[in-house]
Symmetry: C2
Subunit: 211 residues, 2 copies
């Protein structure tokens, strides 16, 4: 049994989709971000970082999408959600995940969470103004040099597609029309049409606040 | 044969140490960052991201430390540089790497590379002022909830130690005295004393510019 701590619309959507794709035995725990639940003691006892996602496993708690997505794929090999027998392809997938977490998600976070990196309100406003440019440039690089097609890793659908789908879902809100990125837009639509993704989105929306 | 593209003092020190620890068959290519070599066409053909490190393998190029470090460990199993047979422990190591790349390295980058997230010079100055605080808080969290001791993953030295050593080497320059972080300081000294680390640092310093 696995338990995923998440907040709606956050990057935790990626492991939620992965769990659904894997037909894993899992439950979900929704955090009330509006009440800052991720910074309260009850959740910090689960994840001292005060962020989502966190995945509670029989062996302990895992954080960071890069780790959680690979773990779900490795522990559910029948679902074939990662190139588990090819160290180079596996590393390529991990590199893709790492780019999303350390560059794309960070670019996005300078919108609503600019306070992490500056205490000055005027400075935060200038950071918010650059979000659309940075997101567009990042996804243009994904289109031109990472997305092999039809899926991220080529012919096989992997957890990387769930992660890309989650973050490309932020583009419109960040001021980047999806129509500027035709391959990303096409990918987003194809991932969104998958039955497991539909189930995960319904589950995310139906979750009741636990913390 | 592997080839590591690096710049002295950058986070590419981590995979360079990992290659030395693994007794891998590898060479190095030094980039002249002062000449902005990482943004020139010759290097962009290797790594379109324009960043270091990049590892050229017989199968293609890998980027991102999270991916490169795991790849070196997986392809050199005799060196025992990662918990390769335990998916949970492997995921914990990957989560640690991901925290270093997406939170700690990003906090550090707001010092000299604040221009990535704001075009305004005054705003960039306020971001630089917050670097010491963010670096201290990140490493305090590493001390309190991640570093198992004596090594990152516990009794076994892994590639995670090379990565932590590399980034803890930035603390003094970021305005955080290592003496404020006794467990990190002790770890830094023990990693630095390893023969393979000494070899890697000598190689890093002796490298001649190729690009």
């Amino acid at each position: 049994m696995l338990t995923l701590y998440y907040a709606p619309g956050s990057c935790a959507r990626a492991p939620l989709i992965a769990l659904a794709e894997a037909n894993a035995d899992y439950g979900i725990e929704k955090l009330d971000m509006a009440q800052n639940a991720q910074r309260q003691a009850a959740y910090l006892a689960v994840n001292p970082k005060g962020r989502v996602p966190a995945l509670v496993t029989p062996h302990g708690v895992l954080t960071e999408n890069v780790a959680i997505l690979a773990y779900i794929a490795q522990t559910h090999p029948a679902a074939r959600l990662a190139p588990l027998d090819d160290p180079f392809a596996f590393a390529q997938m991990q590199a893709f995940h790492s780019y999303l977490s350390s560059t794309v998600h960070v670019a996005h976070a300078h919108g609503r969470r600019a306070y992490r990196w500056s205490d000055d309100a005027a400075a935060q406003a200038t950071m918010q103004q650059k979000v659309a440019q940075n997101m567009l440039e990042s996804f243009q690089l994904i289109e031109s040099s990472m997305l092999k097609g039809p899926w991220v890793m080529g012919d096989a659908y992997t957890v990387a597609d769930a992660y890309l789908y989650t973050l490309s879902g932020w583009l419109e809100g960040d001021g980047v029309p999806l129509s500027k990125l035709p391959a990303i837009q096409d990918h987003h639509q194809r991932v969104g049409a998958r039955p497991a993704v539909q189930r995960a989105l319904a589950q995310e929306a139906a979750g009741t606040v636990q913390l």
